[in-house]
């Protein structure tokens, strides 16, 4: 009788642990998809010059570090974009990886997106590292850092 009770208890604990693990995996997958959707929408917003859309997805405390190591705040970066100094063409990214830690996501990738900045054309290549935080139910970008990749 005691042995049976112990077995039932073990099975119950195992089931809860399994269910919890499944929930974590599902939740993580859902978050990954949500973050990738934000990435797609912001990529489109760059091309369409939809600054309101970008502003919506960027946290007020966003830190942006460009490929030359210059850092800008959200306000500075939006002002620079609005000035027309840089033009974005449709995003060309590869090797995009998303790591989700509950309400935080780290996105890394390789980009050859064409940009024209002060009449200078660039297709990189470059790597990007982004950090998103889920606040008030939506994913917001809090860090972007671009690193140039040497052409081989």
């Amino acid at each position: 009788m005691i042995r049976r009770t112990i077995l039932v208890a073990i099975l119950a604990v195992s089931s809860v642990a399994f269910a919890k693990a499944q929930a974590t995996v599902n939740s993580s997958e859902k978050s990954t998809q949500a973050v990738l959707k934000v990435e797609e929408e912001t990529d489109r917003a760059f091309v369409k010059r939809d600054w309101d859309r970008l502003s919506h997805y960027w946290a007020d405390t966003l830190v942006y570090v460009n490929g030359k190591g210059k850092n800008r705040t959200k306000a500075e970066w939006l002002a620079y974009l609005k000035s027309g100094a840089i033009k974005y063409y449709p995003a060309v990214h590869s090797n995009v990886l998303v790591h989700v830690y509950q309400d935080t996501a780290v996105v890394t990738g390789y980009s050859t997106t064409k940009t024209v900045e002060n009449e200078k054309v660039s297709t990189g290549p470059r790597r990007f590292t982004k950090v998103y935080v889920k606040e008030n139910g939506r994913w917001q970008l809090v860090l972007v850092q671009i690193t140039s990749v040497s052409k081989r």
Partner: protein, 155 residues
């Protein structure tokens, strides 16, 4: 959202002279100053571990899925630790300034300016760079989940 200059740190003697600005997210699960102090302590510990080549200490702070972007390469935790362990990557000095910390509940983003001298594959690198560290509280302790470095170039 508040931005303010940080008070002097009591426990982080290594960082005592570094100007530091901290911003807070709207929701807080711990005292902001406690988080700030803890993160600066961890940064100090990581610096010491790198200079002392204490790979086990780095292993403890780096999350298993950490991503490290430097010199145009994306590296895993295992690759970074292997580089430190083999001596392929080593620091002759670690000089950080203009540290800014942004706190978002269980996530911290730290950015700064580095003039550290490092040696990678026998080549000395001392170009000034910007670096970012992202920490997440996992299993009750802050772990580094992302590190990115960009060389500073003139326009």
């Amino acid at each position: 959202m508040r931005t303010m200059r940080a008070r002097p740190f009591m426990a982080t003697f290594l960082m005592a002279t570094i100007p530091c600005v901290v911003t807070w997210g709207k929701q807080k699960s711990e005292s902001d100053s406690a988080i700030q102090t803890e993160i600066m302590q961890i940064e100090g510990q990581m610096k010491q571990a790198i200079l002392r080549k204490d790979v086990d200490a780095l292993d403890h702070v780096y999350a298993d899925s950490m991503v490290w972007t430097a010199r145009g390469e994306l590296l895993t935790k295992a690759q970074v630790l292997a580089d430190f362990r083999s001596g392929r990557l080593k620091n002759n000095s670690l000089e950080h300034s203009n540290i800014e910390i942004h706190i978002y509940r269980n996530t911290v983003v730290l950015t700064g300016y580095s003039t550290s001298q490092l040696v990678f594959g026998g080549k000395v690198l001392n170009t000034p760079r910007r670096f970012s560290d992202a920490f997440v509280k996992l299993d009750g302790r802050w772990q580094l989940v992302a590190h990115a470095v960009t060389n500073i170039e003139s326009d």
